[in-house]
């Protein structure tokens, strides 16, 4: 027998039955159900367990503020822990498990905690588990951690994809209830660009849960007509299933659209969810209000739910938790609920209302001036105990209890920019404070105007004002006739004098006793209360808990509620899947990948690639038979030094600098002189930060009087360009200089080795003489290659060999490397990767990223003399500071192992031979190390105190981290060709 608790009517499609499973048992619901309503229709009341005491729990609400009915939704890699059954749209094949229970939901071993609750009061753990000290990590904490958490992750990679997007509009309307819809119609008819977003899959808001007619017809008629009109307008974007999660600066909102969460799996290629960044000129918050419970003893049993939620279940979903229901209310909601229940043929055990003078609005037993003082039923409500006005106690049989403690306007979004809500005595709730500065308007229940008529009117009025601020005239629209009962309320936060605990935060098991204890121990600010008791820290973010706790705090402190504090909210409005924030940036698409012009060719050569920044570069090119990367790298190095090697160096930053003041400009951004660099020549440049530390280095070529090309390191290409623009626009705006990056435009290859000239002569067109005389070391020029292709040639060398760098437009890069390799066959031209590049520069003692680590000065690099004192350049002044010029300053040196078979380790620290290895004796450290195939042993370069004076000294290189310690000799960092003969060959 299924759906025994299904009633007549409702907004479900009985022609579309949907099968689903909960805790392994099969059930059936209908299209339009949520998991919660479908379970209720199937008479399932027990859905979850609380966090601390593992109390049995059922649904409390009908929305995203649900603290109790949390499940693990879906299976396998798609499992979603802590999913609210109350907003999980039902689909065929849905599978859900209860969580935080063992072995089963109805019998949970850890429910034992409930028995010991007296020992587990707020903050008890701060006062114990301290002795013996070692026991915390070994014993106590593991036990606590095992009990921690609610649902569990699958730990498999999320198989779904997520997307992002950006939307622009004049008015963003948050919430599609009566206020939101009337605002949307008003603004849309005025031609404004609007977005209407609602977290629900059915627009209409509270209207879907209540029975009030609009223009004497069912509210759904007006809703459907309104939606139809809005859908027909090009300037309107309707976004159901979309939660606006946060208000950020300057009219930017985040919103999550659940594109496929109502399906078993997303369609091929479609996202599960999309994160929209919405840019809006004005916003209207019409997010309604959330009902709040009353704290009375054992107010947390399955079957006890909020009255407004119960209205939703019976009216919208035609489901009821019981056939005989009692109502406990301090405002009119409970009475309206009773009428709705009666209309559905449900028996009312009684309406209990603490207000002595309240009158009946229908045919139900009313207990005025009475309160619920206790409840019974372990896994589901069986009966309640009522204390009558007379003080007499009465027991009432009922399987459900609808509770209404009044309504809290959903002011969250008005607080996201630290706006403070203000207290409204009339409705005993906080309403939005100053929001104007944010361009945000509020309408309807969200501003504390609870009647349908008010909501409709305010939505229209606020839309008109908002558009008015944008100089857009909107006109009043015809609104349907609606109920205008503003309601009345007498605050009732807790029922005193009863036995047993009264829950405030249902999920985290924070009771009125905990609040009292916190106050007693001096935790008297709202912040202290939350942190000490964990109140409001649960997945419902305290939506149902904070207000009641604040009221009780106020009472304890003998202050008014506003004096005591307020409850402010931070984003997100409801919890959001982390993957939704990441969007498409996943796996290998986490960041863009930049490929060099020779990438395809390198792939064909079987190159091994390495990430350098966003670039992928060939690290080495294994040859058949090579089993270890070292074999490949050694071969590449030896071949280059013996004959000729080729390496793609396109990744180096290239900045084109032109203008009549270009030379002056470059002279200011480099520490060394450039003013006198002749046309057709290249020079090494050392760039300092203003604090005198080396920022970058590279070569800059002068192609014409007013035209330079600067190269930067691969890593700093972007930051150097930014730095140059700063110098150009902010420091020396009077200079005639223009900058543009050409890193991408040119494919550039290093051709290095004794035969590099011979090879290039076969490529470079004959009318260009690149002989040593015509094109000496550090020459540069614009040439043509391969029969007329424009190219640039630089005679510069990172390897220390006779070497050139040749550049052609990127689209020809692939063809050029193939040409070079072909032309190089007779010289056994060898492609080399970044490893060989690294080895050769270490053999030459050239500083690179490992040396230029952001703390290195020109002095450290042995280039102090390069910093010109005869001109103004960035960094020169502060480079003179005492601390950067100590007599024992670190100096770059070469390091050679005494025992040639031992390995020099980058990152090892240097100690005097006889001194103990500790920080006090630290003499410096090794920055880079490699095996030098030319020298036949390992070498390193590093920084050593007063290193320039210590050539020949024997030191210990210690690396306790890797259990290495060797003796090294301090030598010149120029391991190969110290005189630089090869460069000039």
């Amino acid at each position: 027998m299924t759906q025994t608790m299904r009633l007549g009517g409702g907004m479900i499609d009985r022609s579309k039955p949907l099968n689903f499973r909960f805790d392994g048992k099969s059930y059936q619901g209908f299209d339009g159900d949520t998991l919660a309503s479908a379970l209720m229709a199937n008479d399932v009341r027990l859905i979850g367990r609380s966090f601390k005491y593992h109390r049995p729990r059922g649904v409390l609400t009908a929305g995203s503020d649900e603290p109790n009915a949390l499940v693990e939704l879906r299976e396998g890699a798609r499992r979603e822990p802590n999913s609210r059954a109350t907003v999980a749209e039902l689909f065929d094949g849905l599978v859900a498990q209860s969580q935080n229970r063992w072995p089963s939901l109805s019998f949970d071993a850890l429910a034992i905690n409930d028995r010991f609750s007296n020992f587990l009061t707020a903050g008890f753990y701060y006062k114990t588990f301290m002795w013996p000290a070692a026991f915390w990590e070994k014993l106590y904490e593991p036990i606590i951690r095992r009990a921690a958490g609610l649902g569990s992750l699958s730990l498999a990679e999320d198989p779904d994809s997520y997307d992002k997007g950006f939307l622009h509009c004049d008015l963003l309307i948050i919430g599609a209830g009566p206020a939101g819809l009337s605002a949307a119609l008003t603004a849309a008819r005025a031609g404004a660009e609007i977005i209407l977003a609602d977290e629900d899959f059915r627009l209409g808001g509270r209207l879907n849960s209540e029975t009030h007619p609009l223009d004497d017809a069912p509210a759904s008629d007006w809703i459907n007509a309104s939606i139809a009109e809005l859908e027909s307008l090009p300037n309107v974007r309707l976004m159901p299933r979309t939660t606006v999660i946060g208000a950020f600066d300057h009219g930017i909102f985040g919103a999550v659209e659940r594109v496929s969460d109502h399906l078993l799996t997303p369609p091929e290629g479609k996202p599960r969810q999309t994160l929209w960044r919405i840019y809006t000129k004005r916003s209207l918050l019409a997010a309604g209000a959330a009902e709040r419970p009353i704290a009375f003893p054992n107010n947390d049993r399955p079957g006890i739910l909020l009255a407004g939620a119960l209205q939703s279940y019976v009216n919208r979903w035609a489901a009821t938790p019981a056939r005989r229901i009692a109502v406990f209310t301090n405002n009119d909601t409970g009475h309206r609920t009773a009428l709705d229940l009666i209309a559905k043929g449900i028996e009312i055990a009684a309406v209990i209302d603490p207000r002595p003078d309240v009158t009946r609005t229908g045919d139900y037993p009313l207990l005025a001036g009475a309160v619920v003082s206790n409840t019974a039923g372990r896994l589901g409500l069986k009966s309640i105990e009522v204390r009558l006005a007379s003080g007499e106690m009465r027991r009432l049989e009922c399987q459900a209890l609808a509770v209404s403690g009044g309504w809290n306007p959903n002011v969250h979004m008005t607080c996201h920019k630290r706006g403070l809500p203000v207290w409204d005595e009339g409705i005993a709730a906080f309403v939005p404070g100053e929001t104007g500065a944010q361009g945000m308007f509020v309408a309807g229940a969200a501003e504390g105007r609870f009647s349908t008529a008010d909501a409709l009117t305010r939505g229209m009025e606020q839309a008109i004002v908002a558009l008015g601020e944008l100089d857009r005239k909107a006109h009043t629209i015809a609104l349907p006739k609606a109920e205008n009962d503003t309601g009345s309320i007498t605050p009732c936060w807790q029922v005193k004098g009863g036995k047993g605990r009264a829950w405030l935060d249902f999920q985290n098991d924070v009771t009125t006793k905990d609040v009292k204890l916190a106050h007693q121990e001096g935790f008297r600010s709202v912040e202290h209360l939350k942190r000490y008791t964990t109140l409001g820290m649960a997945t419902d973010q305290g939506k149902t808990a904070n207000m009641g706790a604040l009221a009780i705090m106020a009472e304890l402190a003998g202050k008014s509620i506003p004096e005591t504090g307020t409850t402010i909210y931070r984003p997100p409005y409801t919890p959001v899947a982390i993957a939704a924030f990441a969007g498409r940036s996943r796996g290998t698409d986490f960041r863009p990948t930049r490929l060099t012009p020779s990438h395809q060719w390198a792939v064909e050569q079987g190159a091994v690639f390495v990430e350098t920044g966003n670039w992928l570069r060939a690290q080495w090119f294994p040859r058949p038979g090579e089993t270890d990367w070292r074999q490949s790298v050694d071969r590449e190095v030896l071949a280059t030094r013996r004959s000729v090697g080729i390496c793609d160096v396109t990744t180096l930053g290239k900045i084109d600098i032109q203008g009549s003041d270009a030379a002056t400009f470059i002279n200011k951004v480099y520490a060394n002189g450039f003013a006198k660099l002749p046309v057709g020549k290249t020079r090494y440049g050392l760039m300092l930060r203003e604090d005198g530390i080396v920022m970058d280095d590279g070569t800059t070529a002068r192609l014409a009087e007013d035209h330079f090309v600067m190269t930067t390191t691969t890593a700093n290409a972007v930051s150097v360009y930014r730095h140059l623009e700063f110098a150009r626009q902010c420091l020396w705006p009077g200079l005639d200089v223009q900058l543009i990056s050409t890193t991408e435009a040119w494919a550039q290859f290093a051709v290095a080795g004794p035969n590099s000239r011979k090879l290039l002569e076969k490529i470079v067109d004959k009318n260009f003489d690149i002989s040593n005389e015509a094109f000496p070391f550090m020459a540069c020029g614009e040439i043509t290659v391969c029969g007329g292709l424009r190219a640039r040639l630089f005679r510069i060398s990172f390897s220390g060999e006779l070497a050139f760098e040749i550049a052609v437009p990127s689209r020809y890069g692939d063809a050029l490397i193939r040409q070079l390799m072909q032309a190089g066959e007779e010289f056994e031209a060898t492609p080399y990767g970044t490893e060989a590049l690294g080895v050769m520069r270490i053999e030459k003692g050239h500083a690179a990223g490992n040396e230029l680590n952001g703390t290195t000065t020109a002095l450290n690099l042995g280039m102090a003399r390069m910093v010109s004192k005869t001109k103004d350049s960035i960094g020169s002044t502060l480079s003179e500071r005492e601390g950067l010029n100590q007599p024992d300053a670190l100096m770059q040196v070469g390091l050679r192992p005494l025992d040639k078979s031992r390995k020099v380790t980058a990152g090892a620290h240097l100690m005097v031979r006889t001194a103990a290895a500790n920080a006090k004796n630290d003499q410096g450290y090794i920055t880079s190390a490699c095996y030098s195939p030319n020298l036949g042993h390992s070498i390193g370069i590093g920084f050593l105190k007063n290193g320039a004076e210590r050539k020949g000294e024997i030191l210990r290189a210690v690396s306790p981290l890797t259990n290495l310690e060797i003796e090294v000799e301090v030598v010149s960092a120029h391991f190969i060709d110290p005189e630089g003969k090869r460069l000039h060959a």
């Binding site: 930049r594 223009q738 050409t742 435009a745 043509t784 063809a815």
Partner: protein
């Protein structure tokens, strides 16, 4: 003529073409480009020199000028990108420099960029998933530089709501293409 065979930014010998419902995505390597930046104090001289060369005029802020035989669009204060068919204008930068002399700094940009042309009803639905620029309201002959999945790109609008071009860093062409296709497919 030289012997070197060009590759498109995506590494093909012919441009890549993708078709989706409501969207055609084309890799387009057929444009020569050069940046033109005015020398200090010579914007006016440059403008007239350019007009003599290209007939059209230097584009206003965030616009494209198609009025002449050679197109250009605004890229930064006193800086423009000039575009002409590659087949006929591979030497665009040199030609411009010859024509503009010392009124401007000219830099070849042809291979600094990859270009993807989007056309169809879904063009803006695709672009609004990629960039904060308001492509839905973008008028014809407008351009802006914006961010697409961490890449600085130019977005050119040729026909409002219909025809766009995205210019991105050439080395990241594959990543940019991946972003464009993923967005195109994910349109619900």
């Amino acid at each position: 003529m030289h012997s070197l065979k060009p590759l498109t930014p995506l590494g093909g010998t012919t441009p890549r073409r993708d078709e989706y419902p409501g969207l055609i995505l084309m890799e387009n390597p057929d444009w020569a480009m050069a940046s033109v930046a005015a020398r200090a104090g010579s914007v006016k001289k440059l403008a007239s020199a350019f007009t003599t060369f290209a007939q059209g005029k230097l584009a206003a802020v965030e616009s494209i000028d198609n009025s002449g035989k050679i197109t250009n669009f605004w890229t930064a204060p006193d800086q423009w990108m000039v575009m002409a068919p590659f087949a006929s204008h591979e030497s665009l930068a040199a030609d411009l420099k010859a024509a503009l002399g010392n009124t401007a700094s000219v830099v070849e940009q042809t291979d600094g960029w990859c270009r993807f042309d989007l056309s169809g009803a879904h063009a803006v639905n695709t672009l609004e998933r990629l960039s904060a620029a308001n492509s839905r309201r973008m008028q014809a002959n407008r351009v802006c530089r914006t961010q697409i999945d961490h890449l600085g790109c130019f977005m050119l609008c040729h026909k409002a709501g219909q025809d766009f071009s995205i210019l991105g860093p050439r080395s990241a062409a594959a990543s940019l293409h991946h972003a464009l296709t993923t967005a195109a497919i994910s349109i619900a």
